[in-house]
Each structure stands twice: as C-alpha cells, then as structure tokens.
C-alpha cells in the first residue's frame, strides 16, 4: 500500500517534467515551421518515424548493442571508480596524489579519448566501452573519495564505543554516507555513458545507434536522424527517471524527513 502511494506520487510528479518536455516540443515545432521539413522535421513527423523504426529488427539490434556497451562502460566506471575512490579516501597521501590526476583526466575531452581508443582498440565495441569508462570513471572516483573523506568521525567514535569493528563501521556508517555522495555521480555517469557511447560508435563506425546515425546522415534521411536522436534521449531519460531516481527515493527517504513539510509515507 505504501509502495503504491509512493509510486503514485512519483508518477504524478512526472507531470511537471512532461510540461517541460512539451515546451521543448513547442519550440521545436516553431523552428520546423520556419525552416521547413527538410532541415528540421516536425515533432509529429519525428515521432511517426520513431514508431516506424522501433519495431524494426535492425533498430532493436543497434539499440541492444549501444545499451550493452554503455551499460558495461557504466558498470566498469562506477565499480572501479567508486572502489578506488573509497580506498583513496582513507589515505591522505592517496587523496593528495589523486586529486590533480582526476582534474587532468576530467579535463581531457571525451572526443580525444575516442581518437586514442580507436588507435588502441580499432573499430570494435571496445573503443566505445573504453571511452565511456575513461570519461566517466573520474566522476565516481571523486564521489567515492569525497564520500569517505567527509565521513562523520563523531559517528565513527560512537560506533567504536559499542565495540564495532572496521567492517561493521564501514557497512553501517560509511556506506550510507557514501551513497548520498555517489548518487549525483552515478546519474551523471549514466547520462554520459549513453552520449559517449553513441558518439564513439558514430566516429568509429562500429554499429549500434551511433552507426545507424552515421548511415542515416550519409543518406540525408533527416527524419531518421531526428528519430534516432529522440530514441537516445529517451533512453537516457528512462535510465535516470525509471531506474536511478526511484532507487534514490527508496534509499534516501530519511532526507525527506528533514524537509519542512516532513516525511511523506
């Protein structure tokens, strides 16, 4: 019962998001009427094209490829980044050492990594995965590091006074604190993963949605280009709002309790 109440409220809050999307659609329609269908197909034409390509086997395969690559990249980046970041957070020396490294890696544009990945991995799915990992790993690393470094020492002393060992303290104090630090990093990573994968696929011509995008561009099939873009955006939104946000809402209900209108259950 509580779950349905929460789910209902979550879906209801989607109205606000839908309003924003409709504003974009209105602006898009305006631009379409100004430039004409050849430059910019209308939202309706694009949606029709989306409906056409969605059931097609080539699209399903391409979307699957892109999904697997970005998911692999996401999992690797989040896994390795969080783990190493958390470990580094426990050591002052590692923290000092790694902060500039992270800054430098974040400063390199993803496009540069794609070029390097192409040289190292050739035209295979690996280059897309690697680009995602390198582009997204520092964010999780920084999140893990800050999370552990800013853990509450007072709570730690409290737990030690009850004789809690290192592992128990990590599990009951550091991990919940870490999660609140990591969520923003994870949502950013999820968004980046889709975008970077498509970009890498397009440039390395290794299939997936990026590959289809390259083909559609070569054929000047503008509605298909738009449809593919809309599909990618939809996937990114879906990952964030259907997966990550509900998860965070479940995990971080206590935060709502601190808000002025109190806990909603």
């Amino acid at each position: 019962m509580a779950f349905f109440g929460w789910a209902g409220r979550y879906l209801w809050s989607a109205w606000a998001g839908a309003c924003g999307l409709l504003c974009i659609a209105a602006a898009w329609q305006g631009a379409h009427e100004f430039y004409g269908s050849f430059i910019l197909p209308s939202p309706l034409e694009t949606l029709r094209e989306v409906a056409v390509i969605l059931p097609e086997p080539w699209f399903v395969r391409a979307a699957g490829e892109t999904a697997i690559r970005s998911l692999t990249g996401f999992a690797l980046a989040v896994g390795i980044g969080t783990l190493t970041g958390a470990v580094a957070g426990y050591s002052f020396a590692a923290m000092r050492l790694m902060r500039p490294v992270v800054t430098v890696i974040l400063g390199v544009p993803p496009i540069a990594w794609i070029v390097l990945a192409l040289i190292w991995f050739g035209s295979s799915g690996g280059s897309a995965v690697m680009t995602v990992v390198v582009a997204a790993l520092p964010i999780s690393f920084a999140g893990g590091l800050e999370g552990v470094a800013t853990r509450d020492r007072a709570l730690d002393a409290m737990a030690r006074s009850f004789g809690a060992g290192v592992w128990l303290r990590f599990r009951t104090l550091t991990v919940p604190h870490l999660i609140s630090y990591l969520f923003p990093a994870w949502t950013t990573t999820a968004g980046t993963a889709w975008k970077v994968t498509v970009m890498a696929e397009l440039l390395s011509n290794t299939g997936g949605i990026g590959g289809e995008l390259a083909t559609a561009r070569a054929l000047f099939d503008i509605p298909r280009v738009m449809a593919l873009i809309v599909a990618v955006v939809a996937f990114a939104l879906l990952t964030e709002y259907a997966l990550l946000h509900p998860l965070r809402d479940r995990l971080e209900r206590w935060r709502e309790a601190g808000l002025p209108w109190g806990v909603k259950r």
Partner: protein
C-alpha cells in the same frame, strides 16, 4: 553504593595533544555501582579523560584497567544516524553487539519506555525529533546494551532546565535499578551534586591540584534543599573558584 569491587582504574595517566600537556599523572578508581562526577572548567581535559577511560583514545602515559563486561557512552551531542528511524538508532548498539534482529525489537521497546519515548516517536527519523527527544534516544541506545559502566560526556548541556531535570532523574533511576557504575562529565556543579556519589574537580592546568569530595546521601534521595545548600557552600569554596571564573584554560 553497591559492593566494593573496582570497575575502572586509571593509573598515572598522562596525555598531550600536539605536545601540549592536557593531563599529568591522573589517577581515578570507580567501584561497583558508583557514579563519579568529573567536573572542571572548559578545556581542562574532561572529555579527554572520558575518551581514554572508554578506550576511544590511547593515553600517551599510564595505564587503564577495566573490570567490567560492557560499557556505553552518551556523548554531548546525540550522535544519531540520520538515515535510521529512532527505533533502529536505539537498536544500533545491540546490532553492533551481534544481537539478532528479532531479539532487538523487545529490548528497544523496553528502553524507549524507560526514557519516555512513545511508540509513535520510534518511527520518526532524528530530523523529525526535538533536541530533547534525540538525547533520550541516545540515552536509550546506551542503556539498551545493558552496560555495567556508562560514560556520560556533558549529555544534557543542550537541553532546557526542566527537561534536564527529567533526564537526570532518568539516569539516576537507571543507575540505581541496573547497578551500573558511571563516569559523569559535567561543568554544572548542581548537576554533579544531583547525580553522583562522589565528585572529582579537575584544575584548569594539568599541573594544578585535583579536588575530590564525597557527596552525602544517595543520588535521587537528596532533597532539593540539600542540593542547593551544598552547591551554595561549594561555590564559595576557594577550591571551586576556577569553575566559575569563566576563562578557557590555556595550557
């Protein structure tokens, strides 16, 4: 006071932070069921002694001997886990002691009742509780593990006078009922006189003299008038002067 078995001994304990001596040759012994108030001006090292006694800090010199099963600490701030409801915060110490989940529920309910928390409050997160309720939760969490030694570090400084009395009475009652020994750090002389059997006054400087006074009668059985008279008398006592001159200690 209960039996005469010694529960805690600090022997010639000395400590320094960054080369600044805070404690030198400090001795203290607590017997079974005895409540000792540790009092002194701000910054004189009360928290340091408590942390050393509770094993949260290793002293640079001296020895600590503990002859008890289990201790619990009530800190100056409640130190609750913000992501756990009051119920789970009270159960935290039990959980750290490896008590199974289904056994914890009954103990938590009992302790919540002891400290005056309703079942309704138990489902709230710390952010939804008042300051006084949070400190009650912290006391309940400490008592839930059935400690035979409890360390209190100025637990009630942040609550108003009326509530302070209620919480003090609660501690006095629990100490009498469960026969635990306690080291009760405070800078409030009337609080010390109310809750303790014996009072240890720390000097401002590490090399000053330590004053020890027994407090007549049992905690909880002393009349308000007697407490007031004793506080008045000691306030005029030169030995207690440092407590009231309001300066921070400079080592």
């Amino acid at each position: 006071m209960g039996g005469q078995a010694v529960k805690l001994v600090l022997e010639r304990v000395g400590h320094a932070f960054l080369g600044r001596a805070v404690l030198e040759d400090f001795d203290l012994a607590l017997t079974d069921g005895e409540v000792v108030a540790l009092i002194g001006p701000s910054g004189c090292g009360k928290t340091t002694i408590l942390q050393i006694a509770a094993g949260l800090l290793d002293p640079l010199r001296g020895r600590v001997r503990r002859h008890y099963r289990r201790h619990a600490v009530v800190f100056q701030e409640p130190r609750l886990l913000p992501w756990l409801a009051a119920r789970d915060n009270i159960a935290y110490g039990l959980r750290m002691n490896g008590i199974a989940r289904d056994l914890r529920a009954a103990m938590v309910a009992q302790r919540a009742q002891d400290v005056g928390l309703s079942a309704h409050d138990l489902d709230k997160y710390p952010a939804e509780l008042s300051g006084g309720m949070r400190q009650r939760v912290a006391v309940a969490r400490a008592l839930a593990v059935r400690p035979d030694m409890v360390y209190f570090d100025e637990p009630f400084t942040a609550v108003d006078v009326g509530l302070k009395r209620i919480l003090q009475d609660l501690v006095i009652e629990a100490a009498a009922r469960e026969q635990f020994s306690a080291l009760f750090v405070t800078h409030d002389l009337s609080e010390a006189v109310r809750v303790a059997h014996r009072l240890v006054l720390l000097p401002r400087r590490a090399d000053g003299t330590i004053v020890e006074r027994a407090i007549a009668g049992e905690p909880g059985r002393r009349s308000e008038r007697a407490i007031f008279a004793l506080v008045e008398a000691w306030s005029a006592d030169p030995a207690f002067r440092e407590l009231f001159d309001g300066r921070e200690s400079l080592h």
